[in-house]
Amino acid sequence: MSQYNLEGHTVRRYDGELNHVHLRVIELGGLALHQTRNALAALQERDVRLARSVIGREWEVNRLDVSIDDELISVIARRAPVARDLRIVMAFAKAVNELERVGDEANKVARLALQLFEGIRVDPGEALMWDVQSMGRRVLDLLERSMDALDRLDLLAARGVAGCQRELEAEFQAGMRRLSTYVMEDARNVGQVITLTQIIKALERIGDHARHVGEYVVYLVSGEDVRHRKCAPEEGAVDEGEPQDGG
């Protein structure tokens, strides 16, 4: 269970409510992770049935999202949380939103897998699939670490996840560059490359959501808001419009 103390309230039912919400958030995180893992496995194994099962479980993610939101609203209405409790409620609410989107993106990856492999299609081959698999491994690792930080409310682990933006961007850009070379080599690859590009983009989004969960855990535990650190304009710098962030 968590290293961070959600408990100790004089009203012990309040402890129970916060712990219960935490468990439900972890449950949602576990489901989102499971969906992502299966979507990636469906891609790797060319497993159309597994891709369909991912799409079929999307409603479970949505149902959990709504149900946790209800619990959080109830805690706010009944307990008027402040300080650490307020940060717990806010961070969980934000994390739930991110995890629901992870579920959406996993669903998208599964649909794109169907698009690639359902029916009689030409297999893209390992070379074309290499970037998707590489990006998939990185994102899965990030999501697992993010869930671990959320589970244990571990500040160090959360900081590690929150600081991964650059690596994720670099992997995405490298993947896009490599895929574009396959189109240049043979224009008949264009259909598959477009689909694979969409998959890589979806995976990058999952990585961003995982990173954001890490940021919310940092806020929950330490009170420090580490969002948008990279894009904050330096003092004296000329503002060139909206800052660009990965998420």
Binding site: P81, V82, A83, R84, L155, L156, V221
Partner: protein
């Protein structure tokens, strides 16, 4: 439960506070240490500046070396568990503790740079300058008009009935009560509802043109609607006065104040911007109290 990261972080600021179960050998050191407060106790242009305030009830040491400034046009909320000394400290600010036998206050309380904690200070004009509103509304058993006019008359703030009428009207207007009582100024103040009586007491306080208003749990006997009216009034009064409010309601402290001070066993543990105190307090005792983790 394991030691949390946040607990570890708190230790860096907690070193200034030592739990009360001390050994005699370390008492001298501890007594010096407990006086440190987390957060900025000073402001740039204070209306009130308290330096090293100690209050003793006989042998009991009720306030242990508190330093705190109150700025102009700000509301400072004082919170803490029962018996922590917040009301005692509040009463120091207009010498109300003088009325308690065996109570001794040491330290410097500067009101606009003048020390009010000295023998030569006349407490009657002081208490006009630093008015007070109590937990239970306590209107005089006189008419509404008399309740408000009494102070200005004895302090010589008005010479004629017309001047008094003007003060009564403006005070009742500022207290948000004028529209409700303007047609019955000659009826007894005690006949008003609890919330109206409390606003009448506030009107009575501001009628003598104070600089500071002290409020000791002003809404604890009121219903939510009356409480909301008083809170709205506090926000308006802030434009003209400095306000110190003692409250047991965390939400009220969060709603009405700009700075919050947390007292514990006679020490001022932490003071800071209200928003920070209620989202990310630096001291574990503050956090435990406001999140309801100890009673």
């Amino acid at each position: 439960m394991n030691t949390s990261t946040s607990d570890l972080e708190h230790k860096s600021v907690q070193t200034s506070y030592v739990a009360p179960d001390r050994t005699a050998a370390s008492r001298a050191t501890v007594d010096r240490e407990v006086r440190r407060t987390v957060g900025e106790v000073r402001v740039a242009e204070p209306r009130i500046r308290c330096n090293d305030i100690h209050v003793y009830y006989g042998a009991a040491h009720a306030i242990k070396g508190v330093n705190l400034d109150v700025a102009r046009n700000e509301v400072v909320a004082m919170i803490g568990p029962s018996g922590c000394g917040k009301s005692t400290f509040l009463r120091c600010l207009n010498r109300m503790n003088d009325t308690i036998d065996g109570c001794r206050v040491t330290g410097e309380i500067l009101l606009d740079d003048r020390d009010i904690n000295t023998r030569d200070i006349d407490v009657v004009p002081l208490r006009a300058q630093v008015g007070m509103v109590f937990q239970k509304p306590n209107p005089f058993p006189k008419s509404i008009w008399e309740n408000v006019a009494f102070g200005p008359r004895i302090h010589g703030l008005a010479r004629t009935r017309a001047q008094l009428d003007e003060i009564v009207e403006s005070s009742l207007r500022r207290a948000g009560l004028w529209d409700e009582v303007k047609d019955r100024l000659d009826t007894p103040g005690t006949g008003l509802s609890g919330g109206q009586q409390q606003r009448l007491c506030i009107a009575r306080t501001i009628a003598v043109q104070p600089e500071v208003i002290l409020m000791d749990e002003p809404c604890s006997a009121l219903d939510p609607i009356s409480t909301a009216k008083i809170e709205e009034l506090i926000d308006e009064l802030r434009q003209h006065f400095s306000i110190c409010i003692v409250t047991h309601s965390m939400q009220q402290a969060a709603r009405v104040s700009q700075r919050t001070a947390y007292f514990h066993l006679g020490d001022l543990i932490e003071v800071g911007p209200t928003e920070q105190i209620f989202t990310n307090p630096q001291h574990k005792l503050t956090e435990d109290y406001i999140t309801g983790r100890f009673g």
